[in-house]
């Protein structure tokens, strides 16, 4: 269990993390979401006592990180896969970490096996690909068989097979009763792995909710209707007490009615329909609305909905799910 209380980090006059209070619970994957620059990495560094908070505290199972005698036995973290010395072999990198926490060297071979790096264990890490470096970082996190695991953007640089592997890994770690805390800037990634969500924007807590609740609240469903007789369709719908909202492309969007009912209604009035499709707003969209609001609230109080940052969610839309 990780407890954050009023965690704040100020760089000069910029608040990177602003009074963050939340709890990360064991037995599930908790997703830590926010756009780039929202303060996720800073928060995670403060959790590990690498950066000193300006104010506020972090408690790991009730203790401060510096009070842990064998930190790797309690918390395993992958913050930055590049935080290694390229001249050292994967084996020696893990060995020195194990030794510093009084962990048996046998364990080094075990974790190398788990992440599939045994064949290159004696090679210097300098030559590792991004994905291999990521796996070495995961091996280091697993070294102490810890109760709490923290991963900062773990799927970065992994191929689809690697991404699939890490999703299952995180789920199985959580299923064993561990606390798994994963940051990401991709809602779609979290939708597949996380049971709980903590969303931040501009260093502020925007949402702390279960995944299912987030979906229920944010993915509105509606029916799209398109007809050559748009005006008549609208009249018929309003005649039946149904509100239709015109969409940009001339179609109508109807909320709170099912498609069957709307189709039958149109048929009764002999209106030709070119489209009658139930829709679901994507989570990515909901997430964008949530964080864009935060960005707007803090930085551009005079503007209406600001377009999200470039690249935000683009990855997800490409996948088209």
């Amino acid at each position: 269990m990780i407890e954050l209380e009023g965690l704040t980090k100020r760089y000069g006059d910029k608040l990177a993390v602003d009074g963050l209070t939340c709890t990360v619970r064991p037995g599930m994957v908790t997703g830590f979401l926010g756009p780039n620059g929202a303060g996720k990495s800073t928060t995670m560094r403060m959790m590990l006592d690498l950066d000193n908070p300006t104010s506020g505290t972090v408690r790991i199972d009730g203790r401060h990180y510096r009070q842990l005698h064998n930190p790797l036995r309690t918390v395993g973290a992958l913050l930055d896969a590049k935080a290694i010395h390229g001249g050292r072999s994967a084996y020696n990198h893990l060995l020195c970490l194990a030794q510093s926490n009084g962990i048996d060297a046998v364990r080094v071979r075990e974790v190398l096996d788990v992440v599939g790096l045994t064949p290159v264990a004696r090679k210097r890490a300098k030559g590792f690909s991004l994905g291999m470096g990521q796996r070495l970082g995961i091996a280091a996190a697993l070294l102490g068989d810890p109760q709490i695991l923290m991963f900062d953007e773990p799927v970065n640089g992994l191929d689809p097979e690697g991404i699939h592997w890490i999703r299952n890994l995180m789920k199985s770690l959580a299923a064993q009763g561990r606390t798994v805390f994963v940051s990401s800037h991709l809602m779609s990634e979290m939708a597949l792995t996380a049971e709980h969500l903590i969303v931040i924007g501009q260093g502020r807590l925007l949402a702390d909710t279960s995944m299912s609740e987030f979906i229920a609240q944010n993915s509105r469903s509606f029916v799209r209707m398109r007809s050559p007789e748009g005006e008549r369709l609208r009249d018929v719908l309003s005649g039946a007490g149904i509100t239709a909202v015109p969409a940009a492309d001339g179609a109508l969007e109807v909320h709170g009615e099912d498609a069957e009912h709307l189709g039958e209604l149109a048929a009764r009035h002999r209106i030709t329909l070119h489209e009658l499709s139930p829709q679901r707003a994507s989570l990515e969209e909901a997430f964008m609305r949530l964080t864009a609001g935060a960005v707007e609230y803090h930085a551009h109080p005079n503007h209406q909905a600001r377009p999200p940052e470039a690249g935000w969610g683009a990855d997800w839309q490409k996948k088209g799910s």
């Binding site: 930190p71 935080a83 970490l97 510093s100 364990r107 590792f128 690909s129 299952n168």
Partner: protein
């Protein structure tokens, strides 16, 4: 490296149990100590090629130059040679050059961790800055002292064997101790000083330049202080090369304040440097 690595098998990877308060690891927990940190730092320092290179260069330079000087002088030695100086003096030239890799390794021991970002992994594994710094200092000091001691003793024996017969100077036990253990201790202390500077500056190139500046600047400054003779003389006397020469029996060398005082000065400066590194490591974000 682009060679494909086999995908790890999906398997339950260790038999821990989900207890009422979350996961319980089957691996017994033993409280980590300073000894564990020292072991880890030893693994780190021995697993890098840069360590092998810097200490290798030091050994080659100290032993090579020391031997070369002895061989050349022995070949030319005749009845007209200076019969008042000690053969031990000949080790000085090699040590002067061998000091540079020793100082470089000192700086790199801490600064390279900042340069690569490894320090964040190190501090995650061992959040006590005191323990990390102490372990690094112990391992570096022990390794440097032992290797320089081996080099200095070897050179002293070679020089003595080659030229001992050509001089009337009789080395005392104290002369031997100063030229071997004394010099090694002095070099190792300077190396620790460099380690502290590496920790304060966190930038390898900058810290190495600073250390070399500290070693050479007094001599260079003295050259430009012609009108302040007493100050120039003091700067020369307390420059690192002059202090180092004070460890050798030579009575007519540039001369320093003497081995005992030099060691004391080095110890005080080293303590200050390590204290500074500790203070900054504790306060700054990693």
């Amino acid at each position: 490296m682009t060679a494909p690595t086999p995908m790890p098998q999906q398997q339950p990877y260790w038999p821990g149990t989900a207890g009422p308060d979350g996961y319980v690891s089957p691996i017994p927990v033993r409280e980590a100590t300073l000894g564990d940190a020292v072991k880890a730092e030893w693994t780190k320092i021995r697993s890098l090629r840069s360590t092998m290179w810097t200490l290798g260069v030091m050994l080659v330079v100290v032993i090579g130059v020391g031997t070369l000087v002895a061989v050349v002088l022995a070949a030319r030695a005749s009845g007209t040679a200076d019969r008042t100086s000690s053969a031990l003096d000949l080790g000085f030239i090699g040590v002067l050059l061998g000091m540079l890799p020793v100082l470089t390794l000192g700086v790199l021991t801490l600064s390279s961790e900042y340069g690569t970002g490894l320090i964040r992994t190190t501090l995650t594994a061992c959040p006590s800055r005191t323990r990390v710094l102490a372990a690094k200092a112990i391992v570096y000091f022990a390794l440097t002292f032992v290797t320089t001691l081996v080099a200095n003793t070897l050179v002293a024996l070679i020089d003595q064997a080659a030229l001992g017969g050509h001089t009337d100077y009789r080395d005392t036990a104290m002369d031997w101790l100063r030229a071997t253990a004394g010099v090694s201790l002095y070099l190792s202390l300077l190396g620790l000083l460099a380690l502290g500077i590496g920790g304060m500056l966190r930038h390898s190139a900058g810290a190495i330049s600073t250390v070399l500046g500290l070693v050479l600047l007094p001599l260079i400054l003295a050259m430009f202080l012609g009108s302040f003779r007493s100050l120039a003389a003091k700067l020369v006397e307390y420059s690192v090369p002059a202090q180092l020469s004070g460890f050798y029996p030579a009575a007519n060398g540039p001369g320093g304040p003497g081995a005992g005082i030099s060691l004391l000065i080095a110890a005080v400066l080293t303590a200050a440097s390590l204290a500074g590194a500790h203070a900054l490591m504790s306060r700054r974000d990693a």
